[in-house]
Point group: C2
Chain length 310, copies 2
């Protein structure tokens, strides 16, 4: 069931989440040190702000904010959690763009952090963003209940660490120099770790903030997993057919590197079918939450992820 | 007051902390994924183990374990917290050794991580270690009380982030290309952030685990701050006069880079006087904890830090 105005409402909420996230990140990365901090070095802070502010669709913050809203959780708890997740996402882009990694010059239509600053500053800015995500989650300002704060931080660490995003990056690098191309199941594991884990955390964070029961938490996780997989296939399709200007980053990278994706493995048409099937799976999982039409904005997000042009 | 056998007891406890830390890190970085982890990629895990295992005096874990012991906290809570701190320390060495940073080939008498593996793997291993430190602290296995877990993670994030260790690294890099040498107060701030913050966290973690009152927590923080400052001066003295073989890392780096330290600013003799004064300050702070002779091992640690040869 799709309300006629749900696409418009989704756009409105996505824009609102992006604006709120931008404002909160700006505040969190103000020059004044927090208690326990000696100083915030100027150039490092500039690089962190460069990497975190002024860019991106803020899809991950949106997922936190909208999944928390299902449980009636709004305000600072949801927004600060959203910012912590975005910090992890932004740090991963900074490190991924480094010369020793993907060696990219362009990100969100601007020079990458190591181009705008220097490599050492980019490495440290990434480390600082990563560390600060856990500062934000564990600060009492995020939630009164320390059990919620610790659970959020644990879930984010597990999604983004060696068994999650960082591990996925490592598998991605290994695949470029491997003798044999990855199998479909290896590609799915790599993508679930590299991209999927953080997207899934976005909605799991809402469940943690809302102290969801098992059934609702499981349904949201299933939504998040399907959404993350659809997102990655859409990304691979865009890379294969997209143009650099629309993407704001270099297109055609996967083919240049002989990188195995579902597009290279299954072909473009089958990849589109798979992507659309995952969108339907994500929407079906939302139905199982029992929240009814309150999930229509998240359903629209799944359609958006598949149809986006950048 | 110094018990005749306190030096021997310190050595025994330092060795025990090192052995326990090694065994626990080995267990934490086992191949089997934890719940919520998809997989632990082999080469990444090898690099993490290479960076974290088999090296160092484990002074920081010792500080956690011994400060927690003052409050009667022993076992998994202290040891896992000790391991989390050591993960942050080890990740900082891996990233600091990178070509774009200090560009070092030798660490603890072995090739640095990016030499033993490759740059991309070293960057990701550092990111994985950093992230896993927060996983460990926020896991219920570390403490039953989520308020303790969240407080530990918040304090570690603040000590190691942009207003702590990472910020200190950034100031250190900036100093190498600055027009004017750093002032004494700038050097002290840099060192308090780069080295001091993590050492200070070691004993603050004991206070958090022990749910210390304000007076004891403050006294332990003062001990940790003085210890950290003494440690850094001793490090600068060793770099100026030490030999590469004994250090297990390249000596004479500071002079090569014209880096301002208290040795270059005040001269060797005055630096030694300052170092010894800080040791006395650290020991005086321990007296203020009211724990009596239970702190003699921590007092011995302060003497050790000043007198060490590597």
């Amino acid at each position: 069931m799709r309300a006629p105005d749900s696409k418009e409402e989704f756009r409105r909420r996505l824009d609102a989440a992006a604006q709120d996230t931008e404002a909160e990140l700006d505040r969190l990365f103000a020059p004044a040190p927090l208690p326990g901090e000696r100083a915030r070095p100027t150039r490092l802070l500039e690089a962190i702000r460069y990497a975190a502010l002024g860019g991106g669709k803020r899809l991950r913050p949106f997922l936190v904010i909208e999944s928390a809203r299902l449980f009636g959780v709004t305000g600072a708890s949801a927004l600060r959690t959203a910012c912590a997740l975005e910090m992890i996402h932004c740090y991963s882009l900074v490190h991924d763009d480094l010369p020793a990694m993907d060696d990219d010059d362009l990100r969100r239509g601007r020079p990458t952090a190591h181009k705008a600053f220097d490599e050492a500053t980019a490495i440290l800015a990434g480390d600082g963003l990563l560390t600060f995500a856990f500062d934000v989650l564990c600060d009492p300002a995020t939630h009164d209940d320390p059990a919620v704060r610790a659970a959020l931080a644990l879930a984010l660490a597990r999604a983004s660490g060696l068994g999650g995003m960082v591990g996925g990056q490592a598998l991605d690098i290994a695949a470029e120099t491997a003798d044999a191309p990855l199998s479909q199941s290896e590609i799915l594991t790599l993508q679930a770790m590299k991209t999927g884990a953080l997207i899934k955390f976005g909605v799991e964070a809402g469940a943690i903030l809302g102290k969801a029961g098992d059934a609702q938490a499981t349904a949201l996780s299933r939504y998040g997993a399907a959404l993350g997989a659809a997102f990655q296939i859409a990304d691979d399709i865009l890379d294969a057919e997209g143009d650099t200007q629309a993407l704001g980053k270099r297109a055609g990278k996967d083919a240049d590197r002989g990188k195995a994706t579902l597009v290279s493995l299954l072909g473009m048409d089958a990849a589109r079918v798979r992507r659309d099937g995952l969108v339907e799976e994500a929407i079906a999982a939302l139905d199982a939450t029992g929240f009814g039409c309150a999930t229509s904005v998240l359903a629209e997000a799944a359609r958006f992820v598949a149809a986006r042009r950048n």
